[in-house]
Symmetry: C2
Subunit: 255 residues, 2 copies
Amino acid sequence: MCLNEGIVLVADTRTNAGVDNIATFGKLHMFEKPGERVIGLMTAGNLAVAQSVVSLVREGLENKETGQLETLFTTPSMFEAARLVGRAVRDVHARDAEALAERGIAFDVSFIIAGQLHGRRMRMFQVYAAGNFIESSADTPFMQIGEHKYGKPILDRVCKYDTPLWDAVKLAMISMDSTLRSNLSVGPPIDVAVIRRDEVMIALQHRVTEDDPYFRSIRDMWSSALREAYRNMPPPPWADGHVESEFERALKAKR
Amino acid sequence: MCLNEGIVLVADTRTNAGVDNIATFGKLHMFEKPGERVIGLMTAGNLAVAQSVVSLVREGLENKETGQLETLFTTPSMFEAARLVGRAVRDVHARDAEALAERGIAFDVSFIIAGQLHGRRMRMFQVYAAGNFIESSADTPFMQIGEHKYGKPILDRVCKYDTPLWDAVKLAMISMDSTLRSNLSVGPPIDVAVIRRDEVMIALQHRVTEDDPYFRSIRDMWSSALREAYRNMPPPPWADGHVESEFERALKAKR
């Protein structure tokens, strides 16, 4: 989420190549020079491709215009940072896509990159497997990659550009919990990073484990609140009347 | 949902072939001979394929073992009804799949069939595009086809085999509402059918329109309840402490 008060990045750490090959890998990578730049890069999709891209943007990719080796520590803007990720994806594609295709494996990867450089705007981009990208806006202040659908309804309803930063963290936990419950291939620990606007440093970087008391209480409270809300809602009025008459009609027909 | 008290079937009516070609088609088809059989068939995926299958199971498909023309009005059991749908899918596949593949269109279709024949068990099956199928159980009393992920978290949390029938209708409305909000290609009106266990007839068949007062109130109440539940939850305790200290550390470093 890229909000008025800052940026909240949340990622699970589960990767799987089939249900019997589940492991924990960080998918949230922070690039920080406090006071100069702070960038978070999150990955989804094919782990080998994602890790290659992260390595390239960390270790450097040649900028063909300038001849310089560029990394996420040297890009002059967030826009150039997103372009660098896009170039890295295309670089990996050029090297690996054919071999992957031969084995029937899709070149399936996506990224969210968000952050701020000193004196510049806070920005967030979603980078696609083709290396192109879109930017978030005040109208659409959140982006999701990977298994995103289960957690989207609560974000659609509650996430606004002016949502306070710590409420946004809470919201991200709730959204992630919905995904954890509905898809076993998404799992804790959950990595969280928070960047306050114009601080140009990591405000919080925290790994939430399965037995984190706060996360457990959020999960329990959310479940209880949903069940209670559902219990408190009235049954459909068109149901009872209609059913009675249908049922009565049938009873009469049988007599 | 196939529950202790009966069956609840809910389907939207939106079909699209791209965002500018949206139309309303029923995707819930009832086959009823009161007192003898009641079967609901729901479809998802390629509309042309789905409609062909529905036509075949309505008008009849030859059973190669018996030489008889079989329809959902003549199958001797729910299991045979599910097999009939499977055979119909394979029949359509044999005729259309090659032409579809030539045009790059996937043979993408799925079905839920649920109901009861007089003196037999109430059963629900999900039929895949390959014509094979799985059955629901008391442990997994609900099935979803089509755009199912947005509406799944609330079902995962609340839908149990002993959920009362009218609560289940309410729950289906809430689940459908989450999907409507997050995916524009799913839209009202919403078709609802309810079958009570051992009644062997349709207890309720109702089309819920966009301006149905009950559906509107459910949508509003659910949104308010979610927002309130989210507001009432505490912010992460590891956030404030951590952030203060990080922030203070930075302030000190700057001084």
